[in-house]
């Protein structure tokens, strides 16, 4: 990205290039209204930005156009980068796709190149020099906008993944001192770690005495994750809470036996209902013999 920070890294004869770019900027500023309208028309024709109304497209197009000209004029991409990020933040939630963003920037490039062609077509030598000055700059600008968009999109996706992870592992307090952790879906090592950390923190925060971990919604787990489950049960006990695991599938039962889990350390009950009943029975004692951690 750093290499794109400035447009100065253009071909030789920098002086004439900058003179040409100045002329270019003047041309684009002069024909702003007409070129902008042409661009919007092409966007609509190409069925890009369909999630937005015509007025919205026009407003955004105006801002992009001005930032574009500004980038050419100041020969820095910082303002444009900021604008691209801001634009992405606004349009990503509306479902605008990467190809649309790349598409509109390339359309603008095309609209401007055509207008340059129309202006200079009588002097082919000058036209060639103008395009030589314009194209590298236009490419940098297009890349900046596209990269800005993709980055923002990646950031949003990462955030959503985090949120889904959190949502998919709720720790529920069903009654005082009783937590339920229903686990659904695939458990990879990272999720397993998050689950454990979340549960242990919740035990402290809610002063839980009994925790029911229900894995009815987990079809299978590898030896690693199964080991992690055992670690979670032991960690919880060290905090003074008893863990009851419910809903073990035949596959998971096999995995646990195969990895040689000390079954004396694991309280298991067939289903969630039974687990909650057991938990309530345990809580019915004034004090649970946490040290033993076993149901008798």
């Amino acid at each position: 990205m750093d290499a794109l920070q400035t447009l100065d890294a253009l071909p030789a004869s920098a002086d004439s290039t900058s003179a040409l770019l100045r002329e270019l900027v003047a041309h684009l500023a002069q024909n702003r209204t007409q070129l902008r309208e042409e661009w919007v028309r092409r966007i609509t024709e190409a069925k890009l930005l369909t999630a937005m109304s015509r007025d919205e497209i026009f407003a955004e197009a105006t801002s992009v156009y001005d930032s574009y000209v500004e980038a050419l004029e100041t020969r820095t991409l910082e303002a444009l980068e900021r604008y691209a990020q801001n634009l992405s933040e606004r349009i990503i939630p509306r479902g605008v796709d990467t190809n649309e963003v790349v598409g509109i920037v390339l359309l603008l490039r095309d609209v401007l190149a055509r207008s340059l062609f129309a202006k200079y077509h009588t002097d082919s030598a000058l036209l060639a020099r103008v395009l030589d000055a314009y194209e590298p700059a236009a490419n940098s600008i297009a890349i900046t906008v596209a990269v800005g968009f993709v980055r923002e999109r990646e950031r949003v996706i990462r955030e959503q993944q985090e949120a889904i992870r959190e949502l998919s592992t709720p720790v529920l307090q069903v009654r005082e001192r009783l937590l339920i952790l229903p686990i659904i879906g695939l458990i990879d090592p990272l999720r397993a770690r998050q689950l454990t950390e979340q549960l242990l923190r919740a035990i402290r925060a809610n002063r839980a005495k009994v925790v029911v971990i229900d894995i009815t919604g987990v079809a299978a787990m590898d030896a690693n994750v199964a080991n992690h489950l055992v670690l979670t049960v032991e960690s919880a006990r060290l905090l003074g809470a008893i863990v009851i695991v419910t809903g073990l599938s035949p596959e998971i039962a096999q995995t646990l036996v195969n990895i040689g889990v000390d079954l004396g350390k694991m309280n298991t009950v067939g289903d969630l209902q039974g687990g909650i009943e057991e938990a309530e029975r345990l809580l019915g004692y004034k004090v649970v013999p946490a040290g033993e951690g076993q149901i008798v």
């Binding site: 454990t196 242990l200 402290r204 960690s235 060290l238 905090l239 004034k286 004090v287």
Partner: protein, 121 residues
């Protein structure tokens, strides 16, 4: 650094304030085992909330404390193990089996209360 041991009713409470060296832990063990008899305590609570690492030596010493106190006729409860410390202990295979653990001082006390009550019933 010496760990202060307070007597509260029939119980002794040792609350660790800071990271302990091995010698501090041994000193704590000896002091508890001695005091539990001299002060006729029914139970001992060791509060480890301040410990950010419990390695095999610390865990082993806590287990020794619990065993020795039991031989002296009283109960031990370890309270305040931090979630992350508990996780590391479980990883190491140091699960303090057979030693009673509770969330915090309050829980530990109510556990001992219950034990004493059921014993005298």
């Amino acid at each position: 650094m010496e760990v202060p041991i307070l007597k509260q009713g029939p119980y002794l409470i040792a609350s660790i304030q800071d990271a302990l060296t091995d010698a501090d832990l041994i000193q704590l063990r000896d002091a508890l085992v001695e005091k539990v008899g001299r002060l006729r305590a029914r139970g001992v609570i060791v509060d480890v909330t301040a410990l950010d690492v419990m390695d095999s030596f610390a865990t082993g010493t806590l287990r020794d404390i619990a065993d020795m106190i039991r031989l002296r006729g009283a109960k031990t409860v370890i309270v305040g193990i931090q979630p992350e410390v508990a996780f590391a202990m479980a990883h190491m295979g140091l699960s303090l089996e057979g030693v009673i653990t509770s969330l915090d001082l309050e829980e530990g006390l109510s556990h001992l209360e219950h034990q004493v009550k059921t014993a005298s019933r």
